[in-house]
Symmetry: C3
Subunit: 410 residues, 3 copies
């Protein structure tokens, strides 16, 4: 490196003299500190979105996760312990023993509940204290003690929890696309965060992924032009897109003119509160949506995805995990992540929580605007003391039906 290259000299000579002719515009100097929409993103107890999300059932584990070995789970910013008593009942409890706070993670599971390791207090799956072995008579006042707990149910291979106000507990919903199986299909559940494009636990706010569901355009750029065709050639065609708001979802309708003159008519939905109703982008079979996913906010800064789908053989869901450059996400080097970004890179790099004040939304982001509006309406309902859309208290209600699917039109 020598002091004066020709290029440098030229560039210096080109500098305007004494008084600059033009002042730079649009530089990063002096821009305001970015902020995020706390109302839409933060999920802890007492926060507006946290209260809204607590009005719904959420999947918090696989059926097999509840065993006689207590398991730590974190949901909506709360640390909890999941277990299954020896009678087969799943339980989800506050981790710190009501007595003196030792974690029930170290507890022993018995026929009727979980026993704390420190002084042996025993709690059933609803937090009732059944024994206090160091107290006279096993604890004459033990009925006054309650270990905080949450109701859980098992369905579709998942364990579901309701963490909201007890008097607002809705019925656990069923879904038509999971209840009605075609010939040769079976149901499978998966907890590897299929659709997230990365690790099981994704280190950014859940809303960044949820909004991605109403964004069909990134498929053409991120999943095709940048990182190679991740799905199938047909998805690489730039679609004509419209959106509409349904009773409890925002639908994205994408039409792609295919080379053979046909049209790929694709409907996907972002359902309340966190549902992924996304037909397979691999277009294996046309017709109604094959799987549902639920985005679970672990806390404000991370989320994971549970999926249940109709498959033809066991393990089919897990094999759907994206490979980039032939590798699973965790097998890639940093250089490969940079060169072949996927959803997880696009979203996590928006920030742990995206900087909403810096956004410049355009016409292709209309779905995001509509989804935020739908969420804001639900926040209003809850604030007004009402129930949000998409909850039902009728155990006889028919299963929820979605119109999502991939359809071939002549």
């Amino acid at each position: 490196m020598t002091a004066n290259t020709a290029a440098e000299t030229a560039s210096q000579t080109a500098t305007p003299r004494v008084i600059p002719i033009a002042v730079d515009t649009g530089t990063a100097y002096g821009r305001p500190a970015p902020t995020h929409r706390a109302d839409l993103t933060e999920v802890g107890p007492g926060s507006p979105m946290g209260e809204l999300l607590r009005r719904y059932w959420h999947p918090i584990g696989m059926v097999a996760d509840a065993t006689d070995t207590p398991r730590k789970v974190r949901v909506l910013g709360e640390d909890l312990i999941l277990f299954r008593d020896q009678s087969g009942r799943p339980g989800l409890v506050y981790p710190h023993c009501a007595h003196r706070g030792t974690s029930l993670y170290y507890g022993k599971v018995e026929a009727t509940g979980i026993r704390c390791c420190y002084h042996g207090w025993l709690f059933d799956v609803q937090g009732h204290c059944l024994d206090q072995p160091c107290e006279p008579g096993g604890g004459k006042a033990r009925d006054k003690v309650r270990q905080p707990w949450y109701p859980v149910q098992e369905l579709y291979g998942l364990i579901w929890a309701y963490m909201g106000p007890p008097e607002r507990k809705p019925v656990l919903p069923r879904y038509e696309c999971l209840d009605v199986l075609d010939e040769g299909e079976l149901l499978e559940a998966d907890d590897s965060s299929i659709g997230g494009g990365g690790p099981q636990i994704i280190p950014c706010n859940w809303l960044q992924h949820y909004e991605n569901l109403v964004d069909p355009f990134h498929v053409v750029i991120l999943h095709t032009q940048f990182s190679g065709t991740q799905f199938v050639d047909q998805m690489a065609v730039m679609p004509q897109v419209t959106w509409d708001t349904q009773e409890h979802s925002v639908r994205t309708i994408s039409d792609r003119k295919l080379p053979d003159g046909k049209t790929l008519h694709r409907i996907s939905e972002a359902g309340l509160p966190t549902l992924r109703v996304i037909p397979s982008p691999r277009l294996g079979r046309f017709g109604r949506v094959e799987s549902l996913g639920w985005v679970l906010p672990i806390d404000d800064h991370s989320f994971r995805i549970y999926v249940v789908g109709r498959v033809r053989e066991a393990g089919e869901l897990r094999r759907m995990r994206t490979r980039m450059n032939g590798k699973l996400w965790e097998e890639m080097t940093e250089a490969e992540h940079q060169k072949y970004p996927n959803d997880v890179e696009a979203m996590v790099s928006q920030g742990v929580i995206a900087r909403h004040s810096d956004e410049h939304l355009a016409t292709s982001d209309r779905g995001i605007v509509m989804l935020r509006r739908l969420l804001l309406q639900q926040l209003d309902l809850v604030r007004e003391g009402k129930d949000p859309q998409g909850v039902s208290f009728d155990p006889d209600a028919p299963p929820v039906h979605f119109t999502a699917g991939n359809f071939l039109v002549d």
Copy 2:
């Protein structure tokens, strides 16, 4: 996994219709955020408990820890440097050189003190500045500079520091049970946190361990029923327990009816301010307590334990470290820690600082209530400008005597 198992269908059918018959009670929803007793737990400069603890001498290292290689120590939230000048005097000083703040950890120890590596200022063990080699005449104003320091003494194989107001400095106490040795006994010191049941530095507040000293019941549950008999069979018997408050301790008196008709009469004490006066739970020999331990708060979030005991051969103390499933704590897997919890798991999982607002104390926790009351009385004394119990200004006072021990009664 198929969509409709018989069990799931049954559980759905059992759900009450339209209007639920019963609303869940005692769930974790809406519980207040937990809080801790700051007055009893936090130890930094200026905090109530920090000021109380600073009225006593604390062991801050083994005699062998003070050498001509400066050593970092952390005590009551303060970072300090321990060294021994080449004349044999131990010193404990503020780490940042009074000149420009470089750490004396990088200092060179000389005959008369420690010299900073940056500009060579030399300080003796009382912080007097003896040399400023870059100043004219070695620093004509060097007498005006003082490196902050704390007085230390050596006793029982430990180095003791007094970190409180100088005018309140008590006499370093001596203890009868360490001063009077039986035939064949020798004194040994240990810094491996014997009694903590885990690593040398335990990552939770010191009070959680200190309170454990007046809790004889967890021996029967945690140390026997959960993790297998860690001590001896006799300790597995559920004791009859009473507590009393002495001048500067809370005593726990546990009586166990043994199979042979005799009674194991066991007295242990939690002494002011952080003393473990716990007779061996291994019951090797009956009679007066064999060792003393001091719980040293490193800061609000971690502590360690120094122990001095009368032994019959060197290394006896260290061999007392608990083994679970045949292994030392640091050799165990996470699954083993979960399956064989020890004191450290019980306490650390209470939280970095226990959630006192969530506690439900019972009759078996009377000792804890009494110990907190004793501590609160000391906080009051200090706040009123008085000296707390358990300090003495009389160098001729007899050694402190404890009544703790294991005794066999017919």
Copy 3:
């Protein structure tokens, strides 16, 4: 270890009785919590020093760092992306895409700029939006969008950025000592933080290093008496030192009487705003200063150093990295770092930001006082709306000249 050693008994016996004769003075008890000079140290947007530093050009990378693989850089507390478009223009932009915030670290570099991986928005090196491929017509309103950017220039093998108010952008300075090469010399740039004595990124505030430049005395203590002669024997002689303040630097003039009767007359400078104008302490050649360094504050808690120098063969600068005990810094064990401290140990151990309230400056620190005064004057100028010293708006101004050098005087 036995209970009563002779020494301990003696020391106890020596304790004064009942009422202590003397109370300890100067202990660490009750000292106020230390504070730092925020105005002189903190560099984030909007802070006084941050605004002052933003009035100057700073080196933010090597010319070779700007490529078609986007690179993360952090400067003055701001995260930025450095790249070079396929036409050869370097660009420095805000990382989060103006559209929806995905990082341009995952962007694709093209002939005219960088394209975001998520929806393909394309920006040139001045942040103009050139394409929005998912919008109708490539984005009819794309001219209203600007990706925040900073102007950069290339000189002396480095990439320079101006991050201040656009209307105050000065001319990028040139330096006589780098523009005028002696016979056989060539110019070389280095980013290994030569002069820092440690790793490339040094985990403490930049001011601690900058102040070190006007401190010639530590050479005799730290670099000689403590860690062995790191430079040459002549530098071990205690110098006679004077300082003066120039138009935009503080000069240190050190005279050393050498054994041969000659005098080593050495002038070094700390230039505004972060310049190291330090003649080689290895005294290879006498005469004017051979290299310049720039201390780059990465943020309040870390900095790095870029150096450009006249050398006789490529790689000469890099070979100047200090070895202690024969090893490079990163090859040393913790014990070796403690035994052979270097600048980095002396400075980092002052604290992430030095505790200025604890300082005791002496006559040998006069240079530091003068340098702080020079900085405070610049803070005043900026606050008053004026330009600080050392910036020029005249592209025809002659290169900056320094008087620094090593000179042998009879």
